[in-house]
């Protein structure tokens, strides 16, 4: 019966059902007044942590989120799903827009050390930027083993068996703890945060700190040049046979 402690990182993103609109000045997408919710893969990560706790393999779950004050809502959802306490690393809205996986990974690494956790769980990627880097970078900074795209996680003593979904099929790894795991779609089906649990979550503690307090450098060497709509799909052209196909392709300069 391991007494592990887990850190789960959750991100607040635009809800998957919303129609995204690009801002007229092309600096990003419209976020004002738009419905936001927890990144679906982060939900899966929280669910996995809660299931481990229910199996009495994990003692404490800490939910963490980096960003402006609205992130606290996302942390509260994690608390309502079963996390024990939360940490909000407050980053003002303007800075948050420039925040990328590297900066978040630096924060998570520092927090993992500070809180002395044995397991860091994240979603494999966020549905807004699709970076798929934070988990990997965090493991790198901590010099911990990583099991990404996890579709099954089993604790075996002080080792973690992780089954990964990769292009070629399924790969199973055995990681020595402490480790970083990122959740893929089929890892589990997250529970609904029930209303009574949401009310209980109000009493759980959420600590608010600044990135600077952790001694983390939030600077980025990347700037977003422009954000544009993908080009409108134009109608395709039907061809009768292979000769026509080759001719058409030559015509548009593709071969």
């Amino acid at each position: 019966m391991a007494e592990l402690r887990a850190l789960v990182a959750v991100k607040r993103v635009i809800d998957f059902a919303v129609k995204i609109r690009v801002k007229p000045d092309k600096t990003g997408v419209v976020t004002d007044g738009v419905k936001h919710s927890m990144n679906p893969f982060c939900e899966i990560a929280v669910e996995e942590a809660v299931r481990l706790k229910e199996k009495k393999l994990v003692k404490e779950i800490i939910a963490v989120s980096c960003g402006p004050v609205q992130c606290q809502e996302t942390i509260r959802t994690a608390l309502a799903m079963g996390a024990d306490r939360g940490i909000h690393v407050e980053v003002p809205a303007a800075e948050a827009e420039r925040m990328g996986p590297l900066q978040v990974a630096r924060v998570l690494a520092k927090l993992a050390e500070r809180e002395k956790v044995d397991l860091v769980l994240l979603g494999k990627q966020a549905i807004d930027d699709d970076c798929n880097q934070t988990g990997q970078m965090t493991a790198g900074l901590l010099d911990w083993p990583q099991g990404t795209f996890a579709s099954q996680v089993t604790l075996e003593g002080d080792k973690l068996k992780v089954e990964r979904e990769i292009d070629g099929g399924l790969e199973t790894l055995r990681l020595k703890l402490p480790a970083v795991v990122t959740a893929d779609l089929r890892l589990n089906e997250p529970r609904y945060a029930t209303l009574p649990n949401i009310m209980k979550a109000k009493k759980k503690k959420v600590e608010v700190i600044k990135a600077g307090d952790l001694g983390v450098d939030m600077s980025s060497k990347l700037t977003v040049v422009s954000v544009e709509d993908p080009p409108q799909r134009v109608a395709g052209v039907k061809v009768e046979n292979t000769e026509d196909l080759v001719a058409k392709l030559k015509e548009i300069g593709r071969i």
């Binding site: 007044g33 309502a80 945060a193 209303l195 009574p196 009310m199």
Partner: protein
């Protein structure tokens, strides 16, 4: 001649006084009532009780964050896991859906926290109600359980009763039902026949009777049952009075029929419930013995207003769905959305939804206020307006889809069938209109009785005052009830609408007084008159709500507040003219008042019990 001159001097004097004093202050009622006067009741006196209505009730940020937290999971559950089409076809809510609803905590929203519920305020409850509307059968099941079935225990139960029953009702382990209606007493509560007889040893009552149209009748474990009991009055006489009881199915003798084959709300369980020699312990009397009528009325009053937000939530989704269709579908080489008649329908739907939402949340704010005044009229208004608007709007939305709307693979036909029930449930709209009118007229009557007596008793001063005031009105004196201007509570951009509203209110107050003078107590027999009175009041309450909400939206700068102003002013303008028409018809000599004709025609038809006219093709030879 001298008398004439004296008369004129008096008129002049009275009018001079009148011009210095606004109509509102000219007759202050003998104010011995509670500090917070009920808004709708005061409208009957031509007064606008601004407190509590302006500004529009606002929730503090913390509570709002909490509500938003609740909304997320519930919305997700309904969109992802509730298959309304299936529920409608199979006539049943699947067991695992019910289980999930229970675990989400939706069965105990208004049960206080200490008994295992969520202890949500009225405002929060109706906000969640907006999401429940995604499935009519589920909404009705939950409303019947909470707002009706167990509400009595929360409001009137003893500590022991609450501790015993509420926890399992809150978790959904037990479902509750409200048993009032009987085959012979569908609208007339006072005439129920179910009887509860006290046993010889006075330890329990024996309950016998049949109840009909009981929502959750087949699912419930706990019933709030109303029965006649013998009560000894203070003067020693023995009377039959209604008492409320908490009855457990386990008490024995409780059976129910099959769920009725209904037009809509087919997933809900509505059936007959029979009690045969059911033994109910004396400890299960709810409230006082003989005090059941009040219990019933209280529960019904608070239960019915949640329908407003439920309808608003459903219509919002419908507008979205239908707008999507109207903007994609092309006819005559243009999208439907370019045609005037289609555009009109959307404007109508948006207006109605805006008014419905505004009225619901305004009423919820009133009910949540610690000094809660008597909101029975307001809740009835919300129910009548919302149910009728919903019926109208769903019909229009279906119409926009044309033939597709008529097909069962689109949700519109199911929503139409579900919406139809609301005109009947929880008090038919006809009964509620009478209730609105009678309650308001009674209140006005109480306040105005001294004046009316004086008028009838030909007190010269009072007669003069009245005549001069009517003169003032007819000569086009402006009405200022304090809504706009320097200390106004309505935003200047809504000035026109506010002025229309004030004019209507003033006229309404006068009309009420005239009606009371004309009919006295017999006004309760004049349903066609009372219908108009109720319609005016419903419009007035709607105008109040939209003015209050729009003012706030402008003041705090909500996005799209210009659109709100547009909807609010359109609603007010329409309501204004409708009111003028109704009010003019209430005048004794109005040529547009066809009541006598209507009564005559219907009398003949009902005497013969058929349509009476000869066939168009009939000949005499």
């Amino acid at each position: 001649m001298a008398v004439c001159w004296l008369f004129l001097r008096r008129v002049a004097a009275a009018r001079a006084c009148q011009s210095l004093v606004t109509p509102r202050a000219s007759w202050r009622p003998l104010c011995t009532g509670p500090p917070r006067r009920a808004f709708a009741k005061e409208l009957f006196l031509g007064k606008i009780e601004k407190k509590g209505v302006f500004p529009f009730p606002e929730m503090d940020q913390d509570e709002l964050n909490e509500i938003n937290q609740f909304v997320g999971p519930v919305e997700r559950f309904f969109t992802e896991e509730v298959d309304s089409g299936k529920i409608d076809r199979e006539g049943k809510i699947p067991d695992d859906t019910l289980e999930k609803l229970k675990s989400l905590g939706l069965f105990g929203m208004q049960v206080p926290e200490e008994y295992g519920g969520l202890g949500l305020s009225n405002t929060t409850s109706i906000r969640l109600g907006e999401i429940l509307s995604l499935d009519g059968s589920i909404a009705v099941t939950l409303v019947a359980h909470q707002a009706l079935g167990l509400k009595g225990i929360i409001s009137f139960g003893t500590e022991a009763q609450k501790a015993k029953y509420l926890p399992r009702l809150a978790s959904g382990e037990h479902i509750a039902a409200f048993c009032l209606t009987e085959p012979a007493s569908r609208n007339n509560t006072g005439s129920i026949r179910t009887r509860a007889t006290l046993s010889e040893d006075e330890t329990h009552y024996v309950l016998n009777g049949s109840k009909v149209w009981i929502t959750n009748g087949g699912l419930a474990e706990i019933f709030t049952v109303f029965a006649k009991t013998k009560v000894v009055d203070s003067d020693g006489s023995v009377k039959d009075r209604i008492t409320a009881f908490i009855v457990e199915r386990d008490f024995g003798g409780v059976t129910n029929g099959k769920s009725g084959d209904k037009l809509g709300l087919r997933g809900s369980n509505i059936c007959e419930v029979h009690f045969e020699n059911t033994r109910v312990p004396v400890a299960n009397v709810l409230g006082e013995v003989g005090g059941g009528f009040k219990v019933a009325v209280d529960i019904l009053n608070s239960g019915r207003f949640s329908l407003g937000s439920i309808m608003a939530g459903m219509l919002r989704k419908l507008i979205e769905l239908t707008a999507e269709y109207a903007c994609e579908r092309k006819q005559f080489n243009r999208t439907l959305s370019e045609f005037g008649l289609i555009q009109e329908k959307f404007a109508l739907m948006a207006q109605k939804v805006y008014a419905m939402e505004s009225m619901s949340y305004l009423t919820a704010g009133m009910l949540d206020h610690p000094e809660c005044p008597d909101c029975s009229i307001e809740t009835a208004v919300v129910k009548v307006f919302s149910s009728e608007s919903a019926w109208q709007c769903v019909s229009e939305a279906l119409q926009i889809l044309g033939g597709l709307g008529y097909m069962r693979n689109h949700p519109h036909e199911r929503m139409l069938r579900d919406a139809r029930a609301l005109l009947l449930l929880e008090g038919t709209n006809e009964i509620l209109r009478m209730f609105i009118a009678v309650t308001g007229l009674q209140h006005a009557g109480l306040v105005l009785t001294p004046r009316i007596k004086q008028l009838k008793g030909n007190s010269m001063a009072v007669v003069m005052e009245t005549i001069s005031q009517r003169l003032w009105d007819t000569l086009g004196g402006t009405v200022d009830l304090g809504l706009t201007g320097n200390s106004g509570v309505v935003h200047p951009r809504l000035q026109d609408s506010a002025a229309k509203f004030e004019e209507n209110v003033h006229c309404f107050g006068r009309t009420v007084e005239t009606l009371l003078l004309r009919f006295g107590k017999t006004i309760v027999e004049e349903q066609l008159v009372m219908k108009r009175v109720a319609n005016v009041l419903i419009n007035l309450y709607g105008m109040t709500a939209v003015l209050s909400r729009a003012s706030r939206s402008i003041c705090i700068g909500l996005p799209d507040h210009d659109h709100e102003v547009l909807l609010a002013s359109t609603f007010c303008a329409e309501a204004y003219f409708q009111n003028l028409f109704s009010l003019s018809q209430l005048d004794k000599h109005d040529p547009g008042n066809l009541d006598e004709h209507i009564k005559k025609a219907s009398k003949y038809i009902l005497e013969k019990r058929t349509y009476v006219c000869s066939h168009p093709l009939d000949r005499t030879s």
